[in-house]
């Protein structure tokens, strides 16, 4: 019996298991949320948010954002053609505001700041 418990103890301290866990974490952090900006005609711009985790309801997020930022926007599902997933597209430059929203713990999604990448100028 005692031998069996020792083996179990050994297993729990298996260094490779920990390594696997670590690699899993790193792959998670690799999946960034990309916030991009695009120029339209004149001084108008579009903000696109790509890669919001699927556990969130994109529709509801959009509804809140539209109200908060006072802008219009849509969800573009691009899954079949390029594999981008659902992209939230907003009218105007809301990059910093949307980052605050994604990071905010009380009124936002309380995501990790390190997973968010802001592109553009």
């Amino acid at each position: 019996m005692s031998g069996a418990t020792e083996i179990q103890n050994l297993k729990s301290r298996d260094p490779f298991a920990e390594a696997d866990e670590d690699s899993g974490q790193t792959t998670q952090t690799q999946e960034y949320i990309h916030i991009r900006i695009q120029q339209r005609n004149g001084r108008k711009t579009l903000t696109t948010v790509q890669g919001i985790p699927a556990k969130f309801d994109h529709k509801k997020i959009l509804k809140v954002i539209k109200k908060e930022f006072a802008c219009n926007g849509t969800i573009i599902s691009d899954t079949e053609s390029k594999g981008m997933g659902e992209v939230i597209q907003l009218q105007g430059d809301h990059r910093l505001k949307i980052k605050d929203f994604l990071v905010n713990e009380e009124t936002g999604l309380s995501l990790d700041e390190k997973t968010i990448k802001i592109h553009g100028f």
Partner: protein
């Protein structure tokens, strides 16, 4: 639009742009928290041991941590550097030390004064006291010894406060016939001071900021921007034009072309500052070495289609992400897009 034009012209007269993301760290430290900041840095390295190649955002986080260091460095300075004797930490310390050295002119004395990682006001007081009897060194020593005896009668930790002296002149604890044991921190600071003294070229490489010529932006018509000196900048960064171009287009979310005289024509209106920001992120991501922050690196396509950055000054090699365009919304008329 009329308000934008004069600003662009004013900017064009600037000669060079300093990309000083490493200098920022030093500026943020100031000379006050010389000991405290390396401590914080060691903590960062200890954390980043598990992921071998940290993502860019993590690295950026480390940058910000370093700039935040003075804030928590004031109270978190308790454990001295001797708790981390491995090579990486030392190198970090060295860099910090050297930069500090350059900042304050009287290098040795400043380092010696900040040696004990007590509160800052203590060392300041000691310095002032020492200034007065500088002429009669022996007398000062005796006086200090007397002071020490008196202090030891009162309280024990006064011993650390007396670790003072000018190491160049050989006074105080640095005197030749001094028999007291010298604390670790003054010894360490003396080591780095001597190192910087004997190898001045070491120090110069640490603080030099990386400069590239500022991007020249012209407007072609109403909707296009010409980026005139792209080949020059690419040459300075030792990167292929195509790579930089692809990154610019991906980040700006546009497209463009190269005209006859190798200038880049970008669709959309962009100001010099905006292009500059993108170039800055490019340099952070694809040019500077993450280990030693040197811009002297090479980008090469390694095996299995991954790009690798090899540093020429420290020899480190890391993989970088390929440039991804990501999602780009449809802009303009639908009719145009279909054709």
């Amino acid at each position: 639009m009329s308000t934008e034009e004069p600003t662009i012209q004013r900017r064009a007269s600037r000669k060079s742009v300093a990309f000083t993301e490493e200098k920022l760290v030093v500026d943020a430290d100031g000379s006050v928290t010389m000991i405290a900041t390396p401590n914080d840095d060691t903590k960062d390295t200890a954390m980043s041991h598990t992921p071998r190649t940290p993502p860019l955002s993590a690295a950026l986080g480390a940058f910000t941590d370093a700039s935040q260091a003075p804030a928590d460095g004031a109270d978190g300075a308790a454990p001295a550097a001797d708790s981390n004797p491995d090579g990486l930490d030392l190198s970090l310390l060295k860099k910090k030390k050297k930069k500090v050295k350059k900042e304050d002119g009287e290098g040795a004395e400043g380092a010696a004064a900040a040696g004990g990682d007590e509160a800052i006001d203590l060392s300041m007081k000691k310095k002032k006291k020492k200034k007065v009897p500088k002429e009669e060194d022996e007398f000062a020593k005796k006086l200090e010894a007397l002071n020490l005896e008196g202090a030891e009668g009162a309280e024990a930790p006064a011993d650390e406060g007396v670790q003072e002296g000018d190491m160049d002149k050989g006074t105080g604890i640095w005197a030749h016939d001094e028999s007291r044991t010298i604390n670790y921190d003054p010894l360490l600071s003396r080591f780095f001071a001597l190192l910087a003294q004997k190898n001045p070229d070491h120090a110069s490489t640490g603080t030099r900021s990386y400069k590239i010529p500022p991007p020249q932006c012209l407007r072609e018509g109403n909707k296009k921007t010409i980026f005139a000196n792209l080949p020059e900048i690419c040459k300075r960064m030792k990167r292929a034009d195509e790579h930089v171009t692809a990154y610019l287009f991906a980040e700006l979310g546009t497209s463009g072309s190269v005209d006859g005289s190798r200038r880049l024509v970008i669709k959309g209106r962009f100001q010099q500052k905006q292009i500059e920001n993108v170039l800055r992120t490019y340099i952070i991501e694809y040019v500077t070495c993450k280990t030693c922050r040197s811009p002297n690196t090479e980008l090469s396509k390694g095996e299995n289609r991954l790009y690798f950055i090899t540093c020429n000054s420290c020899g480190s090699r890391r993989s970088v992400q390929a440039i991804k365009t990501g999602f780009s919304a449809q802009v303009g008329k639908r009719r145009k897009m279909k054709v």
